[in-house]
């Protein structure tokens, strides 16, 4: 049995076009999040934001293996999943600022973006809150023979919630096309996961007969390869899977979590940022394979920067919903 620490080494067959796309998608998430941080610093952003910086390879690797009609569920740290599944940054920023043009007309905010058009069942601010929803979506896919799979993203903190084990059991019993993706960034809020998580994480899947693997969450090609394999399995009707991806969040639990030394060292942060950065490493790989060169990568970054800047400007200029909307949409 593989341990959670043991990453699968996969020399994935990534075409040049796909390689560039994986890179660009990760850059889009990173620069989106940098703008979020900036909005917060400029006091333009109401509430809190939980940034996905450092973890981009997981959302991108997974979502690139999905069709538009496949489902995802996401978490409080959900901007990356949302973008990777195809949402547009302008309407995302609008949602983050509580504007009418946002994906949820401003009613959801950063932690609740949902978008039926891209199969996004919604981000969730209850830890593990969407495990049931993702499993239910897989049941629909199976019952209605829709050929869709469902991907449930959650942090390792969600391993503490009993509902996860109830749905894993259900998913195996009913052979559902659902993939539970644990993004293990090592810290829940301010506590190292080893202080709150007993035993071997992977066995929590195998105990319920769920096919379980781990992957290096900083290696987008490896994540993509694992995702492809697990998604194909699920689509073939072979049942649920559990994927543990080790990763790291570069910034605080939320944007206001600035002084972190009491729970993790600057040196540890630095190590991940310099040695295990998913974007930097993918860029170097693309260059080493002569798929592209540094200038072209820089150009991607510049283009994405422009895209994000325009999206933020759109959102800042957009109006708030009218107050009359407050009691609309409580019932369908």
């Amino acid at each position: 049995m593989k341990t959670a620490e043991e990453a699968i080494k996969t020399e994935a067959a990534v075409s040049p076009e796909l390689g560039i796309r994986l890179y660009r998608q990760m850059v889009r998430i990173r620069l989106f999040e940098e703008q979020v941080n900036e909005l917060y610093m400029r006091a333009l952003m109401p509430g809190l934001a939980h940034l996905y910086i450092g973890e981009e390879a997981i959302a991108v690797g997974l979502c690139e293996a999905l069709k538009k009609t496949d489902y995802i569920t996401s978490t409080h740290r959900g901007h990356g999943h949302c973008l990777a599944k195809g949402a547009e940054p302008d309407r995302m920023f609008a949602e983050l600022l509580g504007k009418e043009a946002g994906y949820c007309r401003g009613k959801g905010g950063s932690m609740h973006i949902a978008d039926p058009a891209t199969g996004n069942l919604g981000a969730n601010a209850i830890v593990c809150g969407s495990a049931g929803i993702a499993t239910g979506a897989a049941l629909t896919a199976k019952r209605l023979k829709q050929d869709n799979v469902s991907v449930c993203f959650f942090g390792e903190g969600a391993l503490g919630q009993g509902v996860l084990y109830e749905v894993m059991n259900l998913a195996t019993l009913f052979k559902l096309p659902v993939i539970y993706v644990c993004e293990n960034n090592f810290y829940t809020e301010y506590t190292h996961y080893t202080e709150t998580t007993a035993g071997d994480i992977l066995t929590r899947g195998t105990a319920f007969g769920v096919h379980s693997e781990s992957v290096d969450g900083q290696d987008v090609r490896a994540v993509y390869a694992a995702a492809n394999r697990l998604v194909s399995r699920a689509r073939r009707g072979e049942g649920p899977a559990f994927l543990v991806a080790n990763t790291y969040r570069y910034t605080g639990h939320h944007v206001g979590d600035i002084n972190r030394e009491y729970y993790r060292s600057k040196q540890e942060e630095q190590e991940w940022k310099t040695k295990r950065d998913p974007i930097k490493n993918m860029g170097e790989w693309l260059v080493s394979q002569k798929i592209t060169d540094a200038a072209a990568l820089k150009k991607i970054e510049d283009e994405v920067r422009q895209e994000m800047k325009a999206a933020v400007e759109f959102a800042i200029a957009a109006p708030y919903p009218s107050v009359e909307e407050v009691d609309q949409d409580v019932y369908a």
Partner: protein, 331 residues
């Protein structure tokens, strides 16, 4: 009077002081919850307690609300006095079986033999831009269940005194703290004192209308009372402090005196705390009332994220003022 009697603490510091004093007084008192130790909770309410009492008595738990609340029930039955920390009141939903089917019923079902001396501290309140799953005020759910007690302090002074009473109570007590109030300051004596449950506090005396307000709404009611003063209406503001046991007598006596009442609470208006209190007043003071008792609570919607929408979901000084003015027949 000792100089410390004039000392000011924040609401968070008052909570922390009550816990620390009770932990010194009684070695059975312990705390558990998510990020309660080194982090001292996201609101920093418990900062320093793990250093003072050690990790055996201040336990960081996994994100397992149902599990550790249940652990609290069992520990309470068998000799500890746990203070369980549920970071946001919204997560109470995850603890409900342990509270409602276990903690609340153990004493009765066992014919009065087992006891559950447990406190569960959690938060309530909107307007923090935290969106629908981090902004609810769900205390009415707990008030509904026989066997549970529910405390809702509105000042640092009340917070310290009520929390000590809660910890010394042999029943499960759910203790609600308004998360917007943590930094608010008030006078808190350094010495040991308790505030009995079921005793309302008259926060302001008045003649023309009674404003019954809970937790976050007490300041709102006091603000409204000031505005009312400006138009010649004298408002009495009463804080029940515990929703169960409920000091019905003080509420009814006040309404009899003023002949008008508004009940203000941040929970949902429908089927909520305000409905219960309003009916207590209506029954008790019927022959003295000049107008129907009015209820003001959160709008019956999930709390929206967008600031202009969120702001209209809860009563404010201005909306309470307007309602009171109308009730008093002042144009």
């Amino acid at each position: 009077m000792p100089e410390t009697a004039q000392r000011e603490l924040t609401f968070a510091q008052a909570i922390r002081e009550a816990l620390a004093e009770e932990m010194w007084r009684d070695p059975r008192v312990c705390i558990f919850g998510e990020d309660v130790a080194e982090a001292g909770t996201p609101f920093k309410v418990l900062s320093g307690l793990v250093e003072e009492f050690g990790a055996e008595r201040v336990l960081d738990t996994p994100i397992s609300e149902q599990g550790f609340t249940g652990m609290g029930v069992g520990a309470a039955m068998t000799g500890l006095r746990p203070v369980v920390d549920i970071m946001f009141g919204d997560f109470l939903t995850l603890t409900m079986d342990q509270l409602v089917n276990q903690a609340a019923k153990v004493h009765y079902m066992s014919g009065g033999t087992w006891k559950v001396p447990m406190v569960l501290r959690t938060t309530l309140g909107a307007t923090r831009r935290s969106a629908a799953q981090h902004s609810q005020s769900l205390h009415a759910w707990l008030c509904h269940v026989p066997g549970l007690k529910v405390a809702m302090p509105s000042t640092p002074y009340d917070a310290k005194g009520l929390l000590k009473t809660a910890i010394r109570d042999d029943n499960p007590v759910i203790f609600f703290e308004d998360k917007m109030m943590y930094k608010q300051k008030g006078r808190v004596p350094a010495e040991d004192y308790t505030i009995p449950f079921g005793v309302a506090d008259v926060k302001r005396e008045g003649e023309d209308i009674t404003l019954v307000a809970t937790s976050s709404m007490v300041d709102v009611a006091l603000g409204a009372a000031k505005l009312l003063e400006g138009i010649g209406v004298s408002a009495e503001v009463i804080d029940p402090r515990t929703m169960w046991p409920l000091d019905e007598k003080t509420l009814v006596e006040s309404a009899k005196k003023t002949s008008r009442a508004i009940v203000i609470d941040e929970g949902y208006g429908r089927y909520g705390v305000t409905g219960e209190v309003a009916s207590v007043i209506a029954e008790g003071a019927f022959f003295n009332l000049e107008a129907p008792v009015k209820r003001m609570g959160a709008m019956h919607v999930p709390i929206p994220f967008s600031p202009p929408l969120e702001d209209v979901t809860v009563p404010t000084e201005q909306t309470v003022f307007e309602a009171a003015r109308k009730l008093c027949g002042k144009a």
